[in-house]
Point group: none
Chain length 505, copies 2
C-alpha cells in the first residue's frame, strides 16, 4: 500500500461501513421474516430485501470503490489494514463480476422460494417448490459463469462460502472421509443394535419452558453474552449478527417429545454466536467484521455441540441438572445410558438429525446432486428420484416422501448452491482445532467436567474468534495448527469415541 493515499483508506472504510449497515439492516429484515413477520408481509419483505441488497451491491461495485482500491495498491496482508483492504478487494472483485440485475433476480427469486419451500415441506408436496428451483438453478449457473473459475463452475460458488476451497480438494476430503467412515458404519450396523431403543432416553415428555431454561443455563456457562444477544423460536434455526459483535442472536426449534433439536441445536447456534461475539469490535462495519468462512463458522458450532456437548466430561456436570429439570422422564435413566443415547450411530434420512459418524455422508449426497444439477447432467424434475437413489446407495434407506427427502433443507430455496461442503469442512476442522486447544490448555476436559469452559473459550477467542475475517480459512488453520486442514484428527476422534461406545475393538 502507498503511504500517501490521500485519505483513500478512510474513504474505503466509509464506503464499506455503509455497505455493512445495509447488510446489517437486511439481516434484521431476515431475522424478523423468520421469527415474527406475519405472512402478509412476505411480498413486501422480498422487495425491501432486494432493494437493500441492490443498493449494497451498487455501492460495492461502484467505480469509486475500484478507484480507491487502485489508489491503495497491493495490500500488505500481514497488517490489519492490509488484511482489510485485501478482503475489500475480494468482495469488490466478486461483486463486480455479478451483474446487478442478476443479484436482484436471485434475491427476489429466493425470497419467494423460501416460503414456498416451507409450505412444500409441510405438505410433502414437491410440486410447490420445483418451479421455484427451476427459476433459481439457471441463475446459479449464470452466477458461476459470471464469477469465473479454474476447473469447474462449482468452484466459483463454493469459494463464495469457503474462500480458496475447490471441488477437487473437497472431493479428495470426501474420499478420505468415506474410506474412514463407511467401514465404521458397517461394523456398527453389523452389531445389530436397536438404534431406536438405544436413543429412547432422548424421547419422552419434555416441557418446552424447562428445555429453554436448561439450554440458557448451558450456553450461559459456555460464555454466550445475553446483553449482546437473544434467543427466539423458528422452524429452521440459525445464528445471525447485525453488523458487529454486539447484537448476535440465536434461534431454536423446540420439540416437546424429543430433547435433541433444542438441546444440541442451542449449543450449535451458540457456538456460531460465540465466534461472532468474540470478533474484535474494531472490525465492526468493516470487511473483517464477520467469521472468515462458513466452514470455520461450522467448526465453532460443531465444536461446542459435539466435542463439548456430546462428551462425557460435559454430562458429568450437567446430567444431574438435566435430571432435576425433567425428573419424570429421566429419573430412571443412568448417565451412561443417556450418554449412549445422544451418541447413537444409525443411518437416517434427515441430515440435521444425523449422528457424528454418518453426518458427512448426507453432505456427500447433496454435494454430488448439486454438482450434477449445475453441470446439467441432472434436471430439477429428476431431482427427487435422484435424491432417493443416493439415499439408497449411501444409507440403504428410501424416504417415505419428499418432506423427509429432497425437501428437508432450505439451502437450495435460499440459493445456497456450494454451501453444503462447508458443513463437512466444519466437522473436520472442529476436531483439528479442539485437539490444538487441548494441547495448549490440557485442563480443558477436566474443567468441562466442572461446567467451566473459560479456558476453551479464551483459547478460541485468542486463536480464532478475535481475528474475524483477517485471515482466509486456510491461513487461519495453518496459523493455528501449523498444518492444512486434515481429516486425520477427525477420523481418529470418531474411531476412539465410537470404537469405545460400540466396542469395535
Amino acid at each position: 500500500m502507498n503511504e500517501d493515499d490521500g485519505g483513500a483508506l478512510e474513504k474505503l472504510k466509509g464506503r464499506f461501513a455503509t455497505i455493512a449497515d445495509l447488510g446489517a439492516a437486511n439481516s434484521v429484515l431476515f431475522w424478523d421474516q423468520q421469527t415474527y413477520m406475519p405472512k402478509g408481509g412476505v411480498a413486501g419483505r422480498a422487495e425491501q430485501m432486494a432493494t437493500l441488497s441492490r443498493l449494497a451491491h451498487e455501492m460495492l461495485v461502484d467505480a469509486e470503490t475500484g478507484g480507491l482500491l487502485d489508489t491503495l495498491g497491493e495490500p500488505d496482508a500481514a497488517t490489519e489494514e492490509g488484511a482489510l483492504v485485501r478482503r475489500a478487494r475480494r468482495n469488490y472483485e466478486k461483486a463486480t463480476r455479478l451483474p446487478s440485475r442478476l443479484v436482484e433476480r436471485l434475491s427476489r427469486a429466493t425470497a419467494l422460494a423460501e416460503p414456498a419451500w416451507a409450505e412444500a415441506r409441510a405438505e410433502a408436496d414437491w410440486s410447490r417448490f420445483g418451479p421455484h428451483l427451476e427459476r433459481i438453478l439457471p441463475l446459479e449457473r449464470e452466477a458461476a459463469e459470471a464469477l469465473g473459475y479454474g476447473d469447474h463452475p462449482y468452484d466459483a460458488l463454493l469459494d463464495g462460502y469457503e474462500p480458496g476451497a475447490t471441488k477437487v480438494r473437497v472431493e479428495a476430503m470426501f474420499e478420505e472421509l468415506k474410506a474412514g467412515v463407511v467401514p465404521m458404519i458397517r461394523a456398527i450396523s453389523e452389531r445389530g443394535d436397536d438404534a431406536k431403543e438405544r436413543g429412547a432416553p432422548l424421547r419422552g415428555d419434555f416441557d418446552e419452558g424447562a428445555q429453554e431454561r436448561f439450554g440458557e443455563e448451558v450456553i450461559t456457562r459456555f460464555g454466550y453474552d445475553w446483553s449482546r444477544g437473544r434467543q427466539d423460536r423458528v422452524v429452521h434455526p440459525f445464528c445471525i449478527n447485525f453488523g458487529g459483535p454486539n447484537d448476535v442472536r440465536i434461534t431454536t426449534r423446540f420439540d416437546e417429545g424429543w430433547l435433541s433439536p433444542a438441546l444440541f441445536g442451542t449449543m450449535h447456534e451458540a457456538g456460531h454466536a460465540l465466534y461472532e461475539q468474540g470478533i474484535n469490535p474494531e472490525y465492526a462495519r468493516t470487511p473483517l467484521g464477520g467469521g472468515t468462512s462458513m466452514g470455520v463458522h461450522e467448526s465453532q458450532s460443531r465444536l461446542w455441540e459435539n466435542l463439548v456437548g456430546r462428551s462425557r466430561p460435559f454430562w458429568s456436570h450437567f446430567y444431574p441438572k438435566l435430571q432435576r429439570a425433567f425428573p419424570n422422564a429421566l429419573d430412571e435413566v443412568d448417565p451412561e445410558r443417556f450418554y449412549r443415547a445422544m451418541n447413537v450411530v444409525s443411518p437416517s434420512k434427515i441430515r440435521v438429525e444425523a449422528d457424528e459418524v454418518t453426518y458427512n455422508l448426507h453432505i456427500i449426497v447433496r454435494f454430488e446432486l448439486e454438482v450434477a444439477l449445475l453441470e446439467g447432467s441432472l434436471t430439477v424434475a429428476d431431482l427427487p428420484d435422484a435424491w432417493n437413489t443416493k439415499m439408497e446407495e449411501y444409507f440403504g434407506l428410501t424416504p417415505q416422501n419428499d418432506a423427509e427427502g429432497v425437501l428437508q433443507d432450505v439451502h437450495w430455496a435460499a440459493g445456497l448452491f456450494g454451501y453444503f461442503p462447508t458443513y463437512a469442512i466444519g466437522n473436520v476442522l472442529s476436531v483439528q482445532l479442539f485437539e490444538e486447544a487441548v494441547a495448549a490448555r490440557p485442563e480443558i476436559p477436566d474443567l468441562a467436567g466442572e461446567g467451566e469452559f473459560s479456558a476453551l473459550l479464551e483459547w478460541l477467542r485468542e486463536n480464532v474468534h478475535r481475528h474475524g475475517s483477517r485471515y482466509f480459512p486456510e491461513e487461519l488453520v495453518e496459523r493455528v495448527t501449523g498444518r492444512s486442514l486434515q481429516t486425520g484428527p477427525y477420523l481418529r476422534y470418531l474411531k476412539t469415541k465410537f470404537g469405545e461406545l460400540y466396542e469395535l475393538g
Copy 2:
C-alpha cells in the same frame, strides 16, 4: 402532466419505491429496537438507522428526482397518478429546502436530546434537558425559515405533519374548543364528584395474559387482520407499517394494576392500524402508500378508542366478556359503573391520561408555548414557569415537579415542533367522520351493541382508508363530509355524552 414523458413517471415511481423500501427497512429496525433488541445493539442500530435515513434522503433530493418532476410538469391531482406526482413533488420540495447541514445538526441535536430528556424526566431535573432545548429551538427556527411560510414560521413546521394546516386556523379551532369545553369542565367540577372513586373499577388486579386475550378479541372484532399484523409489548406504544397495508403492527404497554393503558391503548393503536391496513395495496411503495396526515391518522385511532371503545353500545356487548375475563375484579361492578369509570372527567396534569373533555386543553397549553418559543417571546429558561402558569390557568393545577409538568412529553426533545395540534385535529375530526358514517349507515350503533363493526369499517375503508395519501387532509374532509373541519359535531358529542353522564341538564 405531459402525455409523452419518456417513461419519467415509471422512473419516478422506481425512485420512490426504493425510498419507500429504505423507509420500511428503517421501520423494521425501529420496531426491533423498541421490542426485542438486546441493549448491546444500541450503538450499531443508531449507525444503521442513520445510514438508511441518509441514503433515502440523498435519493429524494437527488437532481434526478427534480429532473423527473420537471419532465412530468404540473400534475392533474384529480387522477391517481397526478396525486402521486403531487405528493412526490411535495416530499421533494420539502426535502430540498432543508440544507443537509441543518438536517444533520437537527438529527444530532435530537439524538443527544432524547436520552437527556429521558434522564431529566426520570430525575425530574429540568437542568439536564434545558440546554438541549436551547440548541434545538434555533434549529427549528432555521428549519421554518428554510421551508418557507405565508403568515407565521409555525405554519412551516405544522405543515410537515398536517399538510395545509395553519396557525391561524388552528387557533380559531382552539378558541371554539375552549368556548365549548371550559364551561363543561367547570360545571362538572362544581358537582364535586370524587374522580378517583368514580374511576376505581379500572384499577385492581388484572392478569396480563387475560388483558392481552381480551384486547385481541376486541380488535379482531374491529377487523384488525392478524395475517397482516401482530402485537408486541413496548414501554411507549405505537403502530407501525412496513411500506404497505400487508404488515401493520401494533404495540402495547400492559399494567397489571390498571386496565386503561392496554385496553384503550390496544383499541387506539388498532385504529391507526386499520387505517394503514385499509390503504389501496396498489399505493404500496409510492408516496401515496401511507396515511395522509397525522391528524387524519389520529382521527382513526380516536374514533375506535373513544367513539366506539368508550361507548355504551360497545360495552353492552363486551362487558359480560370482560367480567368473565376478570371475575374477581369485576363481578361486583355493574355495567353502568364501569361505563362511568372509563368516562371520568377530571382535570389532570398528564396529557396521555387525560379524558375526552379535558384532552384538548393539554394540546392548547403546548401549542401556545411552542408558538411563543418559536417567536422568541418566551425563552427556554422561562419555559418551566410558563408551563406551570398555563396549567394553573387551564386546569387549576400546579405540577409537583417538572417530570409531571414540562418534561412529560418527548416531542420537543425529538424536534417535533408543530406536531401537537394534530392530536386535537384528530379528536375533532373523529366525531365529524363518525357522524357522517352513522348518517350513511344508521345501523352502526346497533351493530356495535352486537360486537359487529363491519358496517363502520366498510364505510371508513371506502371513504378514508383506501385513499391513503391521495387527498390532502382538507380535501379528504371536504370530500367525505361536504364541509371543512368543524368543531360543532365534536362539541355536540361531548355535551350529549358527558351532559348525560354528569346530569348537566
